[in-house]
Structure formats: structure tokens, C-alpha cells
């Protein structure tokens, strides 16, 4: 297994304001799998993703990524972990506004000695015509593609996507999901996708459903269909 999570716990606040976001989550994801995490708002799915991304420090449990335990790492070690192994894609793209598409992609290329070919990636993601444009000059879909390129440039083993299509229309969402699928296939990247969108579960290898901080469903999707064929996005 590439990712193994055991009895993961996370609590916010103290006293009356105490909220248990994760109440002992245990799961695992195979290398190169596309995994979707679903659940209602406030169920703890983003917290789960952030814990795996080393952005939140869990209160208990264990997270092993490629055999390496990340719980208990210092902030500096977590930064190194993110630098070496992870890619992030956000709902609102979070591009650096004063950098061009090319420069935004280079933000992450800079972090690795062996990045993917930038121009090839730009070509693959259909951004060739926009390479010198600034985020404000792009549509939502183009911005998200840029964010994906940025996340992929350092060829991460694990890609964490937090609502990657949350701010996009269905047509653009399909394009983005197709892209993620292509990347998954082409580069063998393990992907965790947090989403509210129920349709996405049909295109992935594994489905995790979190409710009230616990895994309520964890199953493999044996009838996987291509993203391009998804309906009701």
C-alpha cells in the first residue's frame, strides 16, 4: 500500500467548543490509485486530507506514506515531506496573481532537481496559448489547469485534490477530471480527491465516505468509467 492510515484522530478547540473532526480513521490506498473522499460538509474529509498533506498535525493515530511515518514529524520535516512527495490542487486554484502561467508552474519546478518537462506539461494541459498570461486573464478552467500543471511539475508521488471542480461548471469539470485521469495514467500518480460531487466516484479506483469523523464506506470501484463519460457533474 502506498498510503496507510490507522486510527487517525483530530480534535479542534477545547471545552464546550471542542469538535472531534476525525474519530479514528483507518484506511489504505494503493500506489497509482485514484481515490475519492466523499461526505457531507463538516464530516472531516478536508481535515483528513490536510492531515495526510502534513498541513494539520493529528492528535493520534498513524499515517504512513510509502512506508514512511509522517505523524510526529516536525514542521520542517513536514515541509520536506511536502516538498519531496506531494502535489496540491485547491478548489480556488490559489495561483500567485502576479506570476504568469509559466511562472506559476515554475514555483513548484524550483523545488525539485528533476522536474517534468515544463513545455511538455503545458502542452499536455492545453495551456500553450496562455503560458504568458496572468491568472486574472484566465477562465476558471484554465486557472485550474494551471494549478494542476503546477502540482504535477515536480512529479509528485501523491496528489491531494481538495474540491478540484468545486468552482467549475460541469463541462469544465469534466475536462479537468479527464486531465487528472490522464495524468494518473501517464505518470502513475496516486491521487486523493475530496469532493462533494457524487458522480466523480464512478471514475476512481477507490471510494472513501466519511461521516462524523469516521469512515462509513471504503470500497473499491470495480466498474470504473472514463471521466469523459461521466454524467451529472
Amino acid at each position: 500500500m502506498y498510503l496507510e492510515v490507522k486510527d487517525l484522530k483530530k480534535t479542534y478547540g477545547t471545552g464546550d467548543a471542542k469538535t472531534m473532526a476525525l474519530r479514528g480513521v483507518t484506511t489504505s490506498v494503493k500506489a497509482g490509485d485514484l481515490c475519492v473522499i466523499q461526505g457531507p460538509s463538516g464530516s472531516g474529509k478536508s481535515t483528513f486530507l490536510n492531515c495526510i498533506g502534513g498541513l494539520e498535525v493529528p492528535d493520534g493515530g498513524s499515517i504512513q506514506v510509502d512506508g514512511k511515518e509522517i505523524c510526529g514529524l516536525s514542521m520542517t520535516q513536514l515541509a520536506e515531506y511536502r516538498r519531496e512527495s506531494l502535489g496540491f490542487i485547491f478548489q480556488f486554484y490559489n495561483l500567485v496573481p502576479n506570476l504568469t502561467v509559466r511562472e506559476n508552474i515554475e514555483v513548484c519546478a524550483y523545488l525539485t532537481k528533476d522536474p517534468l518537462d515544463r513545455d511538455d506539461l503545458i502542452e499536455t494541459l492545453g495551456l500553450s496559448d496562455y503560458r504568458n498570461k496572468f491568472p486574472s486573464q484566465l477562465s476558471g478552467g484554465q486557472q485550474q489547469r494551471c494549478a494542476i500543471a503546477r502540482a504535477l511539475i515536480k512529479n509528485p508521488r501523491l496528489l491531494l485534490c481538495d474540491e478540484p471542480t468545486g468552482a467549475l461548471d460541469s463541462h469544465t469539470s469534466r475536462g479537468i477530471l479527464t486531465l487528472l485521469e490522464t495524468v494518473n495514467r501517464k505518470y502513475g500518480t496516486t491521487m486523493l480527491i475530496v469532493t462533494h460531487n457524487n458522480a466523480i466516484k464512478d471514475m476512481v479506483d477507490q471510494v472513501l465516505v466519511i461521516r462524523d469523523g469516521r469512515i462509513s464506506e471504503d470500497y473499491r470501484n470495480e466498474t470504473k468509467i472514463p471521466a469523459a463519460e461521466l454524467t451529472d457533474l
Binding site: 490536510n50 498541513l55 511536502r82 514555483v107 524550483y110 486574472s136
Partner: protein, 800 residues
Amino acid sequence: MQRILRRRALRELRSHIFRYLMLGLLILVSVYMLVSLLGAAEIIIRGVHSHAEANQVEDGEFRTFAPLTEENIQELTENGVIIENQFFLDFKEEKGAILRVFKNRENINRLELLKGDLPSEEQDIVLERRFCEVNEVETGDTVSFGGFHFTVTGLATTPDYDSPVRNMTDSTADSKTFGTAFVTEEMYRQLQEAGTAEGAERFIYAYRRNPEKTGSEITDKEIRKIIEDFPFDVEDIDDKWFKRYYREQTEDISLLLDMAEFAAGKKEAKELKENLGVSVHNLQEFVPREDNMRIGASANDLYISLYGCGVAGVIILGLFAYVLAVFIMHGIDEDSSVIGTLYSMGVTRKDLIRHYMILPVSVTFLAGLAGTLLGYTDYGIGFQMMDTYNYYSVPELPLIWITYIVVYGVVLPPLMAIIVNFLVIRKKLSKTALSLLRREKKEVGFHNLDLDRMSFVSGFRIRQTLRESRIALTVLAGLGISLMLVWIGVDCLVMCTHVQHDSVADTRYEYMYFYKYPDPEVPEGGVSAYAKSLKKERFGYDLDVTLMGIGPDNPYFPLDLSDRMDEVVISSAMAQKYNLKTGDEVTLRDEEAGRIYAFHIAGITQFSPAFYAFMDIDALRKICGAGKDAYNVVFSDHALDIKSGRLYATTTKEDIRKASDVFIELMWGMIYFMTGFSILIFVVVMYLMLGVLVDHSMYDISLMKIFGYRDREVRKLYLSGSQVLIAIGTIPMIALSKAAIDALYPYFVSNVACAMDLSMSPLVYVGIYLFIVTLCFIITRLLQRKIHRISPGEILKHRE
């Protein structure tokens, strides 16, 4: 709505308390300094003038060869002039200091007693305050001179010695070696008769106009004319040295005059006598109050401070207001979508402007109020006044509330904040609701800069620097203002150091004797010269310039002078002070004769102790109508045996050394103060602004951290660009600020009669540059902690 917004302002204050506290403190310190300096200047200017008037300060004074007769005095009185003789004798007291002894005054330049009583008994003496302070003399102590012992009964000041310099040509006062003293009339007579004084008695008369007597105010020129017209006979003069001198001068021509009188009559003989340059009238020197460097010098010194602080305050407070505006702009950027929402709900821009004004106006008002109150204490105005008290002979002046200074301290900071913030905030809030909701950013001018061929880091830094250029420019503006303050201090130090070093280095003689009544022959071992004291105005101040006639073989001034009467070589001190260069024309004023002389400057010679215009001695003798062997100055490399009664003054190289040392001692306080204050401004402005830069990029930095960037790399990307811009910008800033202060400096020291060499070693510039860059480096390092505190999770809170 405003009530809710006010609460929000309070929360904003709480969340950025450190930032507002620091800036508030800086405003407080600045206002405290400004109020202290302005208040001290205003209180001294007003106080010195009012005390001077209360003590019947003279309208002018004149010196005569011989005392005026009763008829002379009567004539002046009838013409609306009140006069009082203020004769004096200089004595060397037992510790070597010179005490200038006067009899007590009744009508003009009266004593302001600060402690004790006026002299009533023969052995009573009142001493000038500064002399007592420096020499640690108290009432009840005994001082001895001229063979007499006196008991100090009081400490006083007089308006005619506000700047207690021994000679009007002295550039600095040194109360360690000179002071004034006042005894009873009877005692003065005894001292006069004892003949133990240093040099001859000086017949000085102070005058005041008395328009009530005539119904109109007599002018200085008219008073002078009356005195010049007084009949004068050398036989009326008691001074044996004058009589001897007169005989020596006129021996050869007295026979000629007798023959002229016999042949052509008395009138023609008198004309001939005048043309021959022999004594024309009794008046030796006439100095109206405006030209008297001793009177009101303390107040004159502070006018620059008054104007300078007024302007500097507006600039400094303007900068702080802008720094506050940057904070607010950052807040508006953060609140962009909230503002958009409020706009869409019908809240007006006016409401929001008012809301965003609350903090800057409150902070500046409170800081200004606290600064003003602090300024109005002994630690503010009182402290600043000490500089004047420790140099000038001024009476003690109480703190008084001066409305405009209170308004300046309390109203100006919020007013500047209102103006600057209004202009900035108004523009910032003029976006549409939709644009604010979408967080649309205005593209900066260099937005489309093609950085394709640059490395990622360099390109990123350039983009980041351009994006935050406003902040970098504010830091540079702060740096410019700080540097100007630094230069005021450094220029002062440089000028004083040059004076200290060059004055001694340029003085080749050991003794310079100014004659009142020259010996018939130049004393053995001396080198003669002929000097004439003239005036030249600079920025409203009339300073003394000496036309120095020297011979071709003068070893102390080895100059190659032509024999032309319209050509001079000027001292470097004069060239610097009056901004003159070779080839210029210079005009000098003869106050006594009412003439103006124009000279062509043939060259400049390095001589910093005084303003000299050198010319051939014979040419100057011709100009002055003096005899072919006439001289009135003797230079020598050792002490000469000259009777003190023949001399006006003796200047030694040691005197010059002491005077230049005093200069630098006086200035140290100001140098420390200016440098310290400027560093404080620079550090705070730079820290706050770069801090805003980090805050402004918080989400981006958080994003970078999510990607795995280390703090060091984040600093390199976000702060190094500004650091480089500051490092580059510092170079022109140093040059521009130095040029600006060098241009202004002559105004600051317009009343100081000394050389003004502001050149300095390139190492000073390099040192200042390295200091700033190091400071910038330290501050960015400190800000790394701020970067470290930004959690990668920040970006996750960033939801539209």
C-alpha cells in the same frame, strides 16, 4: 452601521496592536522632539527679546577714542538719544580667564539678576551666569584680579552679552576663558586708576532711541553723523598710548599743517589734515543692534530651528501618515470581498472612508497629544533649552504654553493622517462592488514585463518587488528622510572636525597682534600686515571679513599677490561660507565709511580660521589712505614684547585650537540626537513596511509552505527583492539627501562665522551605505520569524 464599524476598528487595532503601537510610539517620539525643539526655540526667542526689552537693551553702541564731553552727551540727548557709558577694562583673574569689568548699569543693558544682589559695596562683584557655571563660582566666593579681591554677590545676565564672546569677530564663545563682571562705580574708578588691566580701557557707549523727546525716531545713520561731527581734540584724550601714537604719526606732518594754516587758513589746514589720513573724528566704531553678533544671538540661532522643525515635522508626519495609509490599504485588500458585500447592501463609500479613518486619526491624535504633553515638560522643552543655557548667557525662561505649538503637536498629526489617508483610501475604495467581490487587482505598470529568459527566482523577485513597489518606495522615502537627519548631524560633525583640524593646521603663526596704536617700528621678530575690517552679508547675517594686506615675504601667508587694488585672494573659509570661486567678484561693506568695495577674486588659499581677503599690503594702504609703512597687525612665531596698551587683541594659535575644540564639544549632543532619531525612524519604518509586505503576501507565503518551501527560501522570494531594491535605492538616496542637506546647510549655520567645508572621506559614504544594508539585512532576518509563524493552513481559510 458606524457603531458596528467602530467595533471592528477596535478589533483591527487589537489584532495589529504591535504595529500600531510601534508607529504610535514613533509619532509620539517625533511629536515630542518637534514640540521640544519648536517650544524651546519659541520660548527662547520670545523670552530673550522680552527680557532684553525689559532690561532696556541698546539700540546700538559706539566706541570712541576719547570719552564724550558733557556737551556731546547733551546734543545726543536733545536729538532723542539716550546714552550710557559702558566702558570696560579686561582683567586676567587668578585662574587665567579674562573678566571684562563694567560698572553697574542704570539705563541701558541692565543686569538681570538671577541670584544674589547687585554690587553695593566696593568689594562686591556680580558675575555673568555662564562664566560662573563653567568655572564653578558661586555667590559668596572670592575672585581676585588687578590686585583686588572681590566677593561674588550675584549672578546675572545682560542683553548686550547674550553671546558672551570676547571680540565681536570671535566665532565661538568660551565661558571658561571669558566672562563679564559688574562692580560699583567707585570700584570701577579704582580699577581704572590701578592701571593693572589687560590693554586700554574701551570707551563704549550704548544708546537707545527716545522718540518721545523729539516726536520722531532718529535713525542709526543720523546718530552716527552727529557723533562724527563732534568737535574733537586729541588733547582731550587721556590714553597715553593714543597720545604717543598720535604724536608718532603726526610728527612729520605737524610742521606741514602749521605752514598750511599759516598760509591758507584753518579750514584748508583741516582739510589737508583729513586728506593726510590723520585722526578725523572721535568715532572709532559704530555698531547698530542688528549688526551686533552678541545681542540676541541665542534667539537668532534658533530661527533656523523654528523653520527647519516646522518643515521637517510636516515631512516626517506625512511619512508616518503614509505608513498608516499602507496599513489601511493592506486592510482594504484583505477586506475586499466584505467591502464589496457592504457596497452591494447599500453602504456608501463615505461611510467606509470614515470607518477606515478611525484608526489612523485616533492613533495619530493620541500619539500627538502624548508627544505634545511630554514635549511640554522638563524632559522636552526644558531639555532642549539646556543647549542654549549651556552656551548663551540668557536668563532663566519659564515654560509657557504657545498655542500654535500645541496645535502643531496635537492637530498636525491627525490632520496629516486625514489628508494622506483620505487621498489614498478614497482611491482604493472607488472600485465597484463587483470588482471588490472578485478581488480584482489593478495591474501595475510593469505587469506585462517579459521575464522569460530570467531564472525563476530572479523573475519572481522582480514580480514581487513590482507588486509591492509601494512598500519599497515608502521604505526608501523613510530612508531618505532618515538620511537627511543623519546628514544634518554628520555635516555638523564634519564641519566641526574640519574647523578643529584645519584651523590649527592652517595657522602658521603662533601670535597675531591686533594693534590699536601701532609702534613706530615693527617689533623685532614680527611680520607686519595691514588689516581692515569690513562686512559681508550672508542669508541676512552681516559677518566680519578682514581685508588683510600682506607683504610679498610674509612667511605665514606665502601668497603670490598682484599689486592691484581691485584684486584679492580669499581664504578657503570665506570661499566656502560665501560660495565664492576664483574669477568671481566680491563686494565688501565698510560700515564706518559707508563705502562698498568690489574685488576680483584672483585665487583661493587654504586658510580656515577666518574670513580673510588677502591683497598686497601697499595696495590696501592706498585704499585706506594709510602711510606707506602703516601696519596694524603683527604676526610672529613667538611672543613679542608689545605694550598691552597699544593692542586691541592678541590671538594665539592656542586660542584658535581652544575655539575649534569648543565648537565640536557644543555639537556632539546634536550629532548624537540626530543620528539616533534618524536610525529609529528608519528601523521602525523599514520593519513595519517589510512586515506589511509579509502580511500582504501571507496567503501566497502559506501556499509556498504547502508546496514545501523553506522559510529561508520564502524570505529569498518575498523579501530579498525589496532588500535588493533598498540596497540599490540607498545609493541615490545617500547622494540626493547629502546634496539636499549640503544645499540647506548654509542656511542652518548662516550666523556662524566659520569655514564650512562639508566634504568627507568616501569611506563615510561607504560606511553609511554598509550600515543601512546591514540594518536592512538584520530587519529581514528578524522578519523571518514572522514568515515562520505563517502556517501553511492559512491558505485553507482563504475561501471566497
